[in-house]
Amino acid sequence: MPVKLQIKKLCKEFPGVTALDDVSFEVEAGEVHGLVGENGAGKSTLIKIISGALASTSGEMILDGKPFRPMSPRESLNAGIAAIYQERSWLPFRSVMFNVMLGNEMSLSAGRMDSRGMRARCAEVLKTLGAEEIPIGSNAEELKAGQKQILEIARALVQNSSLLIMDEATAALNSEEQEALFSVVRSLKARGLTILYISHRLEEIFRLADKVTVLRDGRRIKTMPISETNKDQLIADMVGRSLANAFPRKNPAPGKPIFKVRGLSADKVFNDVSFSLCSGEVLGIAGLAGSGKEELGLCLFGAFPKDAGTITINGKVLPHSPAKAIANGIAYLPEDRKLEGIFLTLPVKRNISLPVLKKLSGAFGRIRRRREDDLAREWTTRLAIKTPSLMQLCENLSGGNQQKVALAKWLASRAKILILSHPTQEIDVKVKFEFYQLIAELSRQGVAIILISSELAELRGLCHKIMVMREGEAVATLDPEKSDAETILRFALGHEKQAATP
């Protein structure tokens, strides 16, 4: 078969991070090409470059034998590439017809819309997809999740695309809807379309793909026919083993339980989660995107509504609010540090002093500058935060140093329980390892840590135990000394079940 899309030495750098590093592979015309990798492996970045939503830093692409460098989604669409993104991309208050025809509205003369033609084309495409039951006149918000997904595929078909990119297309679908989507994918393939299929559900890859490419840490690890690999091999390729020995020694003797969670539930996000945490212990929470682990972390901090369950700290029930959590020595390091973790337009020192500002102030709320400076200096030194001065605005710091500032804030307030949500995401390797040292050191000092992460190596290297979440359930609690990364991933993917969690 001829090559549809050739990717050659593609690189993408973000400030402080290399998202794609010299990636090359080929997609043949008419095949379903699976693309797999852990979170942060570079899948999303790659498809954004192919679909014109991002520009690559270097490298090239060749589409149908011709150099291809889309500068906007429009150019990519014109070249016959349509992408179905993970993000919600329907128009909630517009009818199915307008959703499907978005960007391809048909006109008669003088911009007059050809409603009849559009309706017919929309119906035709829905029929091809076997989705005649979707009412063309209804607004998108009234549809079921599976039907909304169909809208996006229909939009791609209207464009007469020859290459379709599907990014986690089944994430929001129930099993029946998934089956329907699979048959759609097969029929599209039968019609000669090339499909780049991204999914973290490996069984889908094995059912649909002809070939599969594995990405890890922004690099292409392997491209091979699906028949030449199996699930275990694929998981091993995704996980890798490069960082195994780089972790500091764990705190050998965690203390007494201080933090207990019983039957914590949040409607449709996570359900009946229980665990306890000792001082000086590091608990990892693993799970795929959509497993509910991030929301659980927020909920522990009182920042995500709960339906049921109790959280006790030193035997006392913790009221459900961030303010009360902070008052009880709980700190939360959010996943999106720029949005939630730090104040970009405040200086480093104020970012650090903010939670304890009251304690640093004198009469009439006057901030005692000397004490604030001392505090900020102490923590910038201890965490080796690289900043030209304490007055530097956080927006001018690198990602890793921003993350350190976000953490310093809580350390300065002497938090006893730290909830870290993806603390090493999008920071470079060197700072990553500084973070690992820091986590180990804090735990030796008796700080209890909950580490939410998608990086199995770091969970295994740092945690005393790992709770695995899958679709809102805590499916297993594993001992990292006895369970390798593949076992963890198996639980996360649902390939293995644990009878009773210890």
Binding site: N78, R88, F98, L102, G103, S107, G111, M113
Partner: protein, 317 residues
């Protein structure tokens, strides 16, 4: 999506202001003598015409979630001054009126360029523009009223009749017919709604977001310029502050008419009804002999009520 709301609640959230409007009309019909007179109704429609026409541009901008144009009333003011001083300076009426409209369009274009190219928040851009234009209008008029006998030639635009219908009322309905058509039956209109619904998805579908927003601001500027011509015709003169009384009703008409401030939702015909409602409030309060400052209080309360309805609309789940 989970909880199905009662139909009545939904109806009120969508059309609440229309019910308030009807109740207000019944109240006025009962407690004043002249409200239902044809002549009074024509007065209301005539007054609603300028607000209504300019509110179309506001509606387009809000529909695209491109901000909110606060400068339209000020554009109306400088355009009016432009028209009046051109005529006073010896120009014929038609080129003078065109100059006013073109000036409005140019300012709208500049607003659009600042929003889409320089990427300044739309509210901030137009707030600054409003302030600057008010200054320009006063400088240009030196604080005086600009008037000349030649301006009588503009009068038909305000006092003229076509059959039994006043010209401004005719213009109002013509403008809304066109706007209704454009928003509902053209590709451009479909994309205006699409952008307001989901800008990123629209961009990823190859729609040129900036071009549409530019056009929105441009059309809003042109219509505000036209509003300036109409207001000059109505007063037979122009002053530096002639735009300021329109600031409030233009914004309120769009919001009260149910154009969601989050974009993508709302019907242009309801903006027309809202514009008429707003003038009816003033008209009624005058008929009831309510002092001018109390009128302001009531108008302000109505805007907040309208925003509460917008909130009801956008609270889903």
């Amino acid at each position: 999506m989970k909880v199905s709301k009662p139909k009545l609640y939904e109806f009120l959230a969508e059309n609440g202001f229309i019910i308030i409007f009807i109740l207000w009309c019944i109240f006025l019909a009962l407690f004043t003598d002249s409200f239902l007179h044809v002549s009074n109704i024509m007065v209301i429609l005539r007054q609603a015409s300028i607000i209504g026409i300019v509110a179309i541009g506001e509606t387009m901008i809000v529909l695209m979630a491109a901000g909110m144009d606060i400068s339209l009333a000020a554009i109306l003011g400088v355009s009016g001054v432009m028209v009046a001083s051109s005529i006073a300076g010896g120009f014929a009426v038609l080129p003078a009126a065109l100059a006013g409209i073109v000036l409005g369009g140019m300012i709208g274009f500049l607003n659009g360029a600042l929003v889409t190219r320089v990427r300044i928040n739309g509210i901030v851009v137009t707030l600054g523009m409003m302030y600057a234009l008010e200054g320009v209008a006063f400088v240009a008029t030196k604080g005086q009223t600009i008037s000349s006998p030649a301006m009588q030639a503009l009068a038909p635009l305000s006092r003229g009749y076509l059959g039994p219908i006043p010209v401004p009322v005719l213009l109002l309905f013509a403008a809304y017919t066109i706007a209704y058509y454009v928003l509902n039956y053209t590709v451009f209109g479909a994309r205006v709604y699409a952008i307001g619904n989901n800008e990123r998805a629209s961009w990823l579908s190859g729609i040129n977001i900036n071009r549409h927003k530019m056009l929105g601001y441009l059309v809003a500027g042109l219509l505000a310029g036209f509003g300036g011509v109409m207001q000059t015709a109505r007063m037979g003169s122009a002053t530096g502050g002639m735009g300021s009384e329109f600031l409030f009703p233009i914004l309120t008409a769009a919001i009260l008419g149910g154009i969601s401030l989050n974009g993508g939702k709302g019907k242009i015909q309801n903006v027309l009804i809202a514009a008429v409602f707003l003038t009816t409030i003033n008209n009624g309060l005058i008929l009831l002999n309510v002092p001018i400052y109390a009128q302001k209080i009531i108008s302000g309360v109505i805007l907040i009520l309208a925003l509460s309805l917008d909130r009801l609309r956008s609270v889903r789940k």
